[in-house]
């Protein structure tokens, strides 16, 4: 039993590593010019520094107290101006954050990168084969 268990463990672990590296190499094949990737990458750090994920979601992943912010940038009546104002003034539940102008710019670029990557609204998905779903509004 021990020998068989050892072999199975080894084979599965090798497959897991190959699968993991196939994902790590993905960014090499992506060149999205719709946002500045260096600024957006810094914006991700701002998002983490102020723990925005505690209350907000991106693509339905994150906190549950505030709304999902994935496509807030392109939503009618919302957009960058509103987002900037919300960060500066806070709301009933959300405290006021004192971001520097540079941090705010980076955060907005990060949110822009989320917005152009796809739609998070569940209504944008349709059923395909075998119970899988596809987003028919992916940009």
């Amino acid at each position: 039993m021990k020998l068989k268990a050892r072999h199975t463990f080894f084979i599965l672990s090798t497959l897991f590593l190959l699968y993991s590296f196939s994902i790590y190499l993905k960014p090499l094949t992506i060149n999205d010019t719709r946002y500045d990737k260096v600024t957006a990458a810094n914006g991700r750090l701002v998002w983490q520094k102020y723990n925005c994920q505690s209350c907000h979601q991106l693509f339905g992943l994150g906190g549950y107290l505030g709304p999902d912010l994935t496509n807030m940038m392109s939503q009618n009546g919302k957009g960058e101006t509103l987002l900037r104002a919300m960060v500066k003034t806070g709301t009933k539940q959300m405290p006021t954050f004192n971001l520097s102008e540079n941090e705010l710019h980076e955060l907005m670029e990060f949110l822009k990168s989320a917005d152009v990557s796809g739609k998070a609204d569940p209504r944008a998905f349709k059923k395909t084969n075998f119970g899988m779903i596809e987003n028919y509004e992916v940009k």
Binding site: M1, K2, A5, T8, F9, L12, S13, L15, F16, Y19, S20, I23, Y24, K26, P27, I30, D32, K37, A40, A41, R44, L45, Q48, Y50, N51, Q53, S54, C55, Q57, L58, F59, G60, L61, G62, G63, Y64, L65, G66, P67, D68, K92, Q93, P95, F110, S113, A114, S117, G118, A120, D121, P122, R123, F125, K127, F130, G131, M132, I133, N135, V138
Partner: protein, 443 residues
């Protein structure tokens, strides 16, 4: 005092119980924010209380699992623990926990969801884990014919370290520059990390069943090994079910979906062995630690059923991003992980106490308060989640704040049930902590 006098397993278990008490306190405070949005807004706020609660709860599970492995190893390994290494491991954990809590109180973040602390505090945790791996390796290397729970402990230890390291790939801008890949890796990590500590805890459940039943059959039969490898397969490849709505590669979502569906085998196994399980429950029901294993079995059934359904993308699209996900996370963390840990805590910290004496009515009452509170806690979150899911898919949505207001009745039940959980867990923890000094020092 000589280091060899210290019961390492129990030292980690006691530390874990303290983490649980803190986690419950922070969780209760955070829950009040759902009812009173401005509660502690300027002092701590949800941005501090949530990580304080989540980190404490995770440390309860991770340190508890560590304590279980050390305690279990005493029964199966032929080499004794290296006490200096184990104490160094514990000290590193204490340093990390103090640093993390201070930074949360000071609103200093910088990490990701569930690991919101500055990455600097990940270093002592990683170092502590390396020491744990060294201690584990030196103790088990000469053991012949490993029972399944030793494989599960090994899996948990190795994969925790791998995924914990992977959890910090975002420090390199290369990984951060493309949000979809970045989030894919983030949820790959979250899925596999949970799988890793589940392996350590399910291994402990197998170990305890062997110990309580006095038979070595549980940990060495072929079915147990088959289930272990299926669990390992899921740990490695099923995490894609977290990100069906993320515009990541199709193959990642399909792999996650197909592998998740293999969990029906676990479900079928539970039903197939139902009668035998009922017989085992009747046989050992009088034994207090066993009650928690029994409860864990029932919560496995409930949560696995829910998890499998949520892993079907056409159902997932309704539940994703709603409190149904929270119900599932809380249901597994409390219903499964915490129940197994309490079985282990009562078995290891107060050994033989309930072998001949029936637990008091008071203790039984607390046990049932815990189960009933958890049931209402889980139900309230599920109903709130279903309501949010309906809102998400409705063509004419009211505003987010109005939708949240409409969930208030369910949040009231959630807070009251949370209070019940707090009372029950605190009472059980006090029972365990009263024995702390005796159980840490070997006579």
């Amino acid at each position: 005092m000589r280091l060899s006098k210290i019961n390492i397993g129990n030292l980690f278990l006691i530390t874990a119980v303290l983490m649980l008490v803190l986690g419950l306190s922070f969780g209760l405070l955070a829950a009040f924010i759902y009812l009173y949005p401005e509660f502690l807004k300027n002092e701590l706020g949800f941005i501090s209380l949530r990580p304080l609660h989540v980190s404490s709860a995770m440390f309860w599970i991770i340190l508890g699992a560590t304590g279980c492995v050390y305690s279990g190893l005493k029964g199966v390994a032929n080499q004794i623990t290296n006490f200096k290494i184990a104490i160094a491991q514990w000290i590193l954990w204490v340093i990390a926990i103090i640093g993390i809590f201070i930074s949360y109180f000071a609103h200093q973040f910088g990490g990701r969801e569930y690991w919101e602390f500055n990455p600097i505090w990940a270093l002592p945790i990683a170092l502590a884990w390396i020491l744990f791996l060294v201690n584990f390796y030196t103790q088990v290397i000469q053991v012949r014919k490993w029972p399944v729970y030793m494989w599960m402990w090994l899996t948990g230890l190795v994969f925790f370290f791998f995924t914990f390291t992977e959890n910090y790939l975002w420090l390199f801008p290369y990984f951060r520059e493309h949000i979809v890949t970045d989030m894919t890796i983030q949820w790959k990590v979250n899925g596999s990390l949970v799988g890793a500590w589940n392996q350590m805890l399910y291994g402990t459940a197998f170990y305890l069943m062997d110990k309580i039943s006095g038979s070595k059959k549980v940990g060495k039969n072929n079915l147990a090994f088959a289930m272990y490898f299926l669990g390992l397969f899921n740990l490695m490849f099923n995490w894609g079910h977290h990100i069906y709505t993320l515009p990541t590669e199709k193959y990642i979502r399909y792999v996650g979906y197909i592998v998740s569906m293999t969990e029906w085998v676990f479900f079928a196994k539970i039903i197939y062995t139902w009668k035998a399980s009922v017989n085992t429950i009747q046989k050992h029901y009088h034994y207090f630690p066993y009650k928690f294993l029994m409860a864990a079995d029932i919560w496995v059934f409930i949560n696995m059923g829910q998890a499998i359904l949520m892993s079907i993308p056409t159902i997932n699209v309704y539940t994703h991003g709603t409190h149904v996900t929270v119900a599932h996370a809380m249901g597994t963390t409390i219903g499964i992980n915490t129940m197994i840990l309490f079985a282990a805590c009562f078995e290891f910290l107060i050994p033989n106490m309930y072998k001949d004496i029936k637990p008091s009515k008071h203790l039984n009452l607390i046990f049932w308060l815990l189960q009933i509170s958890l049931l209402f806690f889980w139900l309230s979150l599920n109903v709130a989640g279903i309501k949010k899911g309906i809102w998400q898919l409705s063509p004419q949505q009211v505003s987010y704040s109005k939708m949240m207001q409409s969930l208030q009745p369910y949040f009231i039940v959630f807070v009251v049930a949370g209070l019940g959980l707090f009372i029950a867990f605190s009472a059980l923890s006090i029972k365990l902590l009263r024995n702390a000094s005796k159980s840490i020092i070997n006579s």
